[in-house]
């Protein structure tokens, strides 16, 4: 029993915390909102630097092995990659619409838009799954050569971010049904949206670098 309580407390720590945190925040809502946004921007900076490492590795190895990169890139499925790019850009737009909608208290529209975003993300993942499994079944995987290592490492880490983004947006979607957001209280939707834009932005860089070399 005690253990179950402990595990539950890990999942929902706020229930275990002193009530002051939930009930009476000691900061005014305006400060909270701007602080959350500043915090999120800083976090996005760290994400950019995380991928910065991958981009640096890409640049160094592409300069060193231009032929390998051209050949490897030619073997990637440009059509599937382009479809995924369009899907992600579209999902970025739907999230942006959701953020605008909540400020006008249009909860229904927020929910629809978040649903579309999640579906887009899922389609992106399914496409990626087919791409990966096709490559793997042809005996190409991480470690085949440096280009494919970069391809799998970069798209893999990006895919992980897509999943995280889906989880974040999923929780937000669930909470819209619980009536937690309104035009006065929409910080979570806004910073969740920011995160999704980042996921999109990184793909917009990855796509030409990996699929459209030479």
């Amino acid at each position: 029993m005690q253990i179950m309580k402990f595990i539950k407390s890990l999942a929902y720590p706020s229930e275990m915390l002193p009530p002051i945190v939930e009930e009476e925040s000691h900061f005014d809502p305006e400060t909270e909102h701007s602080a959350a946004k500043l915090g999120m921007w800083l976090f996005l900076a760290t994400e950019l630097l995380l991928f910065g490492g991958l981009f640096a590795a890409y640049a160094i190895f592409r300069a060193k092995y231009p032929v390998m990169f051209a050949e490897g890139s030619a073997n990637l499925d440009v059509v599937l990659g382009s479809v995924n790019t369009v899907i992600l850009i579209f999902s970025s737009w739907t999230v942006a619409v959701a953020v605008t909608a909540i400020q006008e208290n249009k909860i229904k529209l927020v929910q629809v838009m978040l649903w579309i975003t999640l579906i887009c993300a899922a389609i992106f993942g399914i496409n990626k799954y087919f791409e990966y499994s096709y490559k793997l079944s042809n005996g190409i995987g991480p470690g085949t050569d440096i280009f494919y290592s970069i391809y799998f490492a970069a798209t893999g880490v990006h895919m992980l971010h897509v999943f995280i983004g889906m989880a974040v947006l999923g929780v937000i979607l669930k909470r819209t049904y619980e009536g937690r957001y309104s035009k006065e209280k929409f910080t979570a939707i806004e910073i969740g949206g920011l995160y999704w834009h980042l996921v999109d932005l990184i793909w917009i860089y990855l796509f030409p670098l990996l699929y459209l070399v030479g």
Binding site: P13, P19, V21, G39, A45, T46, L50, G141, G143, S149
Partner: protein, 532 residues
């Protein structure tokens, strides 16, 4: 549950038992828990270093095998760096002090702060789990050895990866807190210098940690999938790994030292009853150091095989970072000029910091000079230099903080006289351990050597004897700190800083009303016509 709106209860009394601590969002309790955690890891890593030094009493095997030796110096380095000194002062005293100093009731994201602590615990556990097949790569995980070795590199690097999140989230929390929660009237140029230092540290944590994150992730991929980025056998480049690694780990040096510099800037004015000399120079030099530190990582790699031009550029920038550091030393010294200096234990540690850090900094000049570094790189000279900065700097700063804020943190006083004896032992022991290592290194004794040539024996033995004095001093310091004598006033040192204007220990919510600040944090002395 107790009533959390009760301002008469201090933070230590507010709730008892494991749950009231481990699930707290109180920044003070989190700071105290970090202090405990880093203390435990410090002792663990120190024990490893004592064994290492003991092994060097004689050439060849003294007590442990070569493999055990390699494991021990890896454990010592990894635990000291990733579990002790990187979270170190910033997480412990940063958490405890920043909200008090800026006049806030907590950090801006209290729950996130708690999660950071949990992530820190999780990362530490993962790292320590690797002890099942302990890693022998050195804390730098240089490839291709770290790809090749049969030990548990994946667990350790994953642990460090997880710890990185804790570091990043804490950094974000501090930066946003200082932007959004400063009390009315507490302008940036009135902000305590500890906060400035913590701000610079947080910037480094936020901007440098992700790079080591991806590096270690790639190293894991390297071992798991054979990615090949860092493996020469697969067309990869081991020097690239070093670039990535030091791009984080050099700024990390300043993550370690800047908060300690912040502490010194708080302690010296109080015990001199003088405003800090050159507030702006110290504040801005913290930021300057933080920014320049991103551009000097290559000085760890002068002999790595990177190009000559790159070496020259990194050497220039390295000397550029030396200047703001020198400025700070003289500013601290001049703070005592015409002051009323009290040699308390905390002050002694701070003054020792100035002296030892000066030695650490000056020996850095040897290593920054290209031709000299060719000779000194990867010898004991580097080991000694690094320990003069990390122990003589950071650890002495931490000890100074532990003594200085002891009354505030625990509401009690310790025995000043005994603390000074402990200080004397630690100061003497430290110098006997590490000063001979400068000479060893100059004579060509390489680091990470299990075995050594007989001509180095005397200096090695001297260094080992020093650890015994250091150990005794350290134990005596702990003994003194664990035996408080009497209760503390709210402000025993007559400091004018905000955190001393509240009861000791502080109430859970810090301030009944958010104060309005009207003066500088260092408003000491009588304003007279300034003499030339």
């Amino acid at each position: 549950m107790t009533d959390h709106h009760d301002f008469d209860k201090n933070y230590l009394e507010n709730g008892k038992g494991f749950k009231s601590w481990f699930f707290t969002v109180d920044h003070k309790r989190l700071g105290v828990m970090y202090l405990w955690a880093i203390g435990v890891f410090f002792v663990l890593a120190a024990i490893a270093s004592f064994l290492i030094r003991f092994e060097h009493l004689s050439p060849g095997q003294t007590i442990i095998s070569a493999q055990t030796y390699n494991v021990l110096f890896t454990l010592h380095g990894a635990v000291m760096v990733f579990l002790f000194i990187v979270p170190g002062v910033a997480a412990s005293f940063g958490n405890f002090l920043i909200p008090l100093m800026i006049g806030a009731r907590d950090v801006i994201f209290p729950k996130l702060n708690l999660y950071s602590f949990w992530i820190y615990c999780a990362g530490s556990l993962i790292l320590l789990l690797s002890l099942a097949a302990p890693v022998d790569t050195g804390w730098t995980f240089y490839t291709p050895y770290s790809i090749d070795t049969g030990t548990n590199v994946i667990l350790v690097t994953f642990g460090v990866f997880v710890l990185g999140f804790s570091s990043i989230l804490t950094g974000i929390n501090f930066i946003v807190s200082m932007h959004k929660l400063r009390a009315p009237g507490l302008t940036w140029d009135r902000l305590p210098l500890f906060c400035w230092a913590a701000y610079a540290t947080s910037l480094l944590q936020v901007l440098a940690t992700p790079v080591v994150g991806i590096t270690l992730l790639l190293l894991i991929g390297e071992r798991y999938f054979g990615l090949g980025f860092f493996d020469p056998a697969k067309g990869g480049d081991p020097v690239l790994f070093q670039h990535f690694f030091w791009f984080y780990s050099h700024p990390a040096v300043y993550i370690m030292i800047l908060p300690a510099m912040g502490i010194i800037s708080e302690v010296i004015p109080v015990f001199s009853r003088k405003p800090i000399f050159g507030y702006k120079a110290i504040a801005y030099s913290s930021l300057a150091i933080a920014l320049i530190s991103f551009l000097v990582w290559g000085h760890h790699m002068f002999t790595s095989g990177q190009s000559k031009l790159i070496n020259i550029i990194f050497s220039v920038i390295t000397f550029a970072v030396a200047v703001p550091t020198a400025i700070k030393v003289f500013n601290w010294l001049w703070t005592m000029y015409k002051g009323s200096v009290e040699l308390s234990a905390a002050m002694l540690y701070s003054l020792a910091f100035i002296f030892l850090f000066t030695i650490g900094g000056l020996t850095g000049l040897f290593l920054g000079a290209l031709a000299a570094d060719v000779h000194l790189h990867d010898t004991y000279f580097v080991v000694a230099h690094m320990h003069y900065v990390m122990i003589g700097g950071t650890v002495f700063g931490l000890f100074s903080a532990i003594h200085f804020w002891y009354p505030k943190m625990w509401g009690k006083m310790f025995d000043e006289f005994k603390a000074k004896i402990a200080f004397t032992l630690i100061f003497i022991g430290f110098n006997i351990v590490f000063f001979p290592q400068f000479i060893l290194g100059t004579q060509g004794m390489p680091r990470r050597y299990f075995n050594y040539a007989p001509e180095f024996e005397t200096l090695h033995q001297l260094s080992t004897y020093g650890t015994w004095i250091l150990g005794v001093g350290f134990i005596y310091m702990l003994y003194t700190l664990f035996k408080p004598v009497g209760a503390a006033d709210s402000n025993p040192y007559r400091s004018v800083s905000l955190e001393w204007q509240m009861p000791s220990p502080p109430p859970t919510l810090n301030f009944k009303e958010i104060p309005t600040v009207t003066t500088s944090t260092y408003d000491y002395g009588t304003k007279v016509e300034q003499e030339a």
